[in-house]
Amino acid sequence: MHRKLGVVVAVVVVVTAVLATAGLASRSSKTTKQAFPTGPVNLTMSWWGEQEAAGAKAWLNETVAAYQKKHPNVKIKTVLQTTDGLIPAFKAAAAAKKGPDIQYFWGGIWSLDDAWLGNTKPVSDYIPKSELAHYLNAKEDTFDGKVWTAPWYVQPSFPVLVRKDVLAKAGVAVPTTWPALLKACDRLNAKGITPIAGGIKDGWFGGWLFSIIGAQGITSISDVLDATTGKAKFTDPKLAAYWTRLQELRDHKCWNDDINSLELYQGQQRWSEGKAAMTVAAGSDVKKFVKKVGVAKVGVMPMPKWGTGPYAGKLGSTSQTVGITSWTKYPEVAADFIMFMHNPERMSAWFKTTGAFPADNRFNTKLITLPQQKVLFNLVKSGSPYLENFIPPELDAKAFFAQSQLLLGGSINAPKAAAATEKIAQRIRLTQRKQMANFKKWSGSYK
């Protein structure tokens, strides 16, 4: 009797093991070896990027055409979004669970927020690990062991562009430290030259400034994540220092007097026109600025150094990404197209067209010939995390966009801005409880 029972148990165990193995095998084969559909496939890709990588649209059209030629049954429609419309348009699509199959995301929280909301499928379920290993900065898009969106191109975030000709004319040396920058502001102002051109009306520049100035005061990205979740505070000296530095820039009249009137790109335009000595630009767009102004006249550097932390004097490095939406019928095709964007020929074409670095370590770096891009590439190789990607978008908008506007406009001072930031963070901890829980989990991967 006991023997019979033993045989039955053994059979059950074996059968279960076989079935489980078969199940696992079928699941793992699903990630990489799903048959490519042969019937008509229509995909929509909602994207952004022409704004910061001029030529991206032409490249994407070329890439879609090449992919459609390779797969005649696939049609890909691309929809270029505006800067202000990119996120709301996707959120509206996500609410209806209807819309693009491939969606553009900035890195970090901009990618993971939608993963947490169930709006995307992890790309690591469809793109082989061996392929994903080549994609740069994928760590910031990783949560719970999965990569949620696939890096497309690197965004060196954000270099200071210098008009060497303007500085030389004013007899001012290129400032590389904070005191030198403040002194340069005083001297340039005395000569009637705007030291740094910017535009903050649309808010985005506030997030940039927080990242490139604020990063210098922290010791690790955990400082920001902890302040977000309430383990630390935004009024702590490490994080509040950003506001103090920004006030110093304001008090030394480092910015154009109409910074609150201008949008980000309008501010940069002032620099291109030679009306300002410096500006802050997207690293992906440096080629455009250099070509416009002249190779000999432009210098590229990180924000002058004031801190002693590990990120001081470094340039942030993040990658702009594309993800697969949770409602798409053809995730495998979307993933295949994303991988197609990373083939060597497409990567070279991308760099030649836009001047932005593909987010892939297989990219042929010999193509980099422009001196400014070489500087940028070396800075990015030893780059630091980009702070704005590690705070909730609501905090970014209500604190770093809005309070930076108020501070630069002279309505508030640094302590008030820091206090307002903490107050907003406290409220977000109350209203965004699910997001906070995920933030806590996410911060664990940066300990």
């Binding site: 202000d84 996120i87 709301p88 959120k91 509206a92 609410a95 927020d113 909301l117 009306k201 649309d202 808010g203 007097d257 109409d258 910074i259 609150n260 009137s261 201008l262 949008e263 909730p392 978008p393 609501e394 908008a397 209500k398 966009f401 809005a402 309070q403 506007q405 108020l406 406009g409 309505s411 409220r427 109350l430 209203t431 965004q432 409880r433 997001q435």
Partner: protein
């Protein structure tokens, strides 16, 4: 013809359906059905979402929303925008009367005053956004004529931004009032004005005693429409002129923008729903107040 055949050929008396006092309700029933069909479900969902907090039925979302300083600021700004309504009414009434009186070049003036109203709000927003920059055309003109001290960052300074926005809204909405009042004025019998003039009434007396009473229904209508506009229809202006931020800071934040940002940028549909229900309630109260005033004053829209 026999009496039998005569009886047969007599038309049979049909019983007619007489809805009586329900007749008006029957006539508007199709429209009500469409409104219920279009808005009923969404209103139901909106209220339902606003009452769900972590899966439980509660008013917690309302408490969270009403204690949000940004929401309060937004509501306060909508209330401040309401101050523009009397300005709108007075200005458009005055301009309509001037046009009615045959002001020299009135055709051109009528066209110029109505033009902003037919332009799309984004166009107005972009144009004024450019004009009102710190180094924009308005300030350049002020500096050129020696009033540089008056030059301000009209949309970039918190203390000016909302008033500047209000001025732009007034400028555009003015055209609607002018056309509305002018159309009503043109339908008033000229005999009434003639009689007034013969009795010795001059400009102000004439219009105070004749025009305003004649236009009272239209004025009330315009007040209601503009009040609703200021409370729940200014999103486009704010979105375009501040790049969707409601800035600088929250200086131009309004309730609609708050709802939009909370729902679609910050993914808090429950809070957004609570704010939307609050806005709906405020608008309803406002409409009810206006109609009560209208009834008490005994003014009909046909006036």
């Amino acid at each position: 013809m026999t009496s039998d055949t005569a009886a047969l050929s007599r038309p049979r008396r049909r019983r007619r359906f007489r809805p009586g006092r329900f007749e008006p309700a029957l006539w508007i029933a199709p429209a009500v059905a469409i409104v219920v069909f279009v808005f009923g479900y969404s209103m139901f969902e909106l209220v339902k979402t606003s009452l769900l907090f972590d899966g439980a039925w509660t008013t917690e979302n309302f408490r969270v929303t009403w204690t949000d300083p940004t929401f309060r600021t937004a509501l306060g700004h909508n209330a401040r925008l309401l101050l523009a309504v009397p300005i709108l009414v007075a200005t458009s009434l005055l301009l309509a009367i001037l046009l009615f009186e045959g002001l020299r070049g009135w055709r051109f003036h009528r066209w110029a005053l109505f033009l902003p109203y037919i332009l799309a709000i984004p166009v107005i927003g972009v144009v004024f956004g450019q004009l009102l920059q710190f180094n924009g055309l308005v300030n350049q003109l002020l500096r050129a004529v020696g009033f540089g001290g008056l030059a301000q960052d009209w949309l970039g300074q918190p203390r000016w931004a909302l008033w500047t926005m209000t001025a732009v809204i007034v400028l555009r909405e003015l055209g609607f009032g002018i056309v509305l009042f002018l159309a009503r004025l043109l339908s008033v019998s000229s005999d009434i004005f003639e009689a007034g003039r013969m009795d010795g009434a001059r400009f102000f007396r004439l219009h105070r005693r004749i025009t305003i009473p004649q236009l009272s229904g239209v004025i009330i209508f315009y007040v209601v429409v503009e009040a609703i506009t200021m409370v729940s229809w200014v999103f486009n202006y704010v979105y375009v002129m501040t790049n969707g931020q409601g800035g600088p800071g929250d200086a131009t934040q309004v309730t609609e923008l708050y709802i939009y940002q909370t729902a679609f940028q910050y993914q808090s549909p429950e809070i957004a729903s609570a704010a939307a229900v609050t806005l709906f309630a405020v608008t309803l109260v406002l409409i009810a107040m206006f109609f009560r005033v209208q009834r008490r004053a005994g003014i009909g829209l046909d006036a």
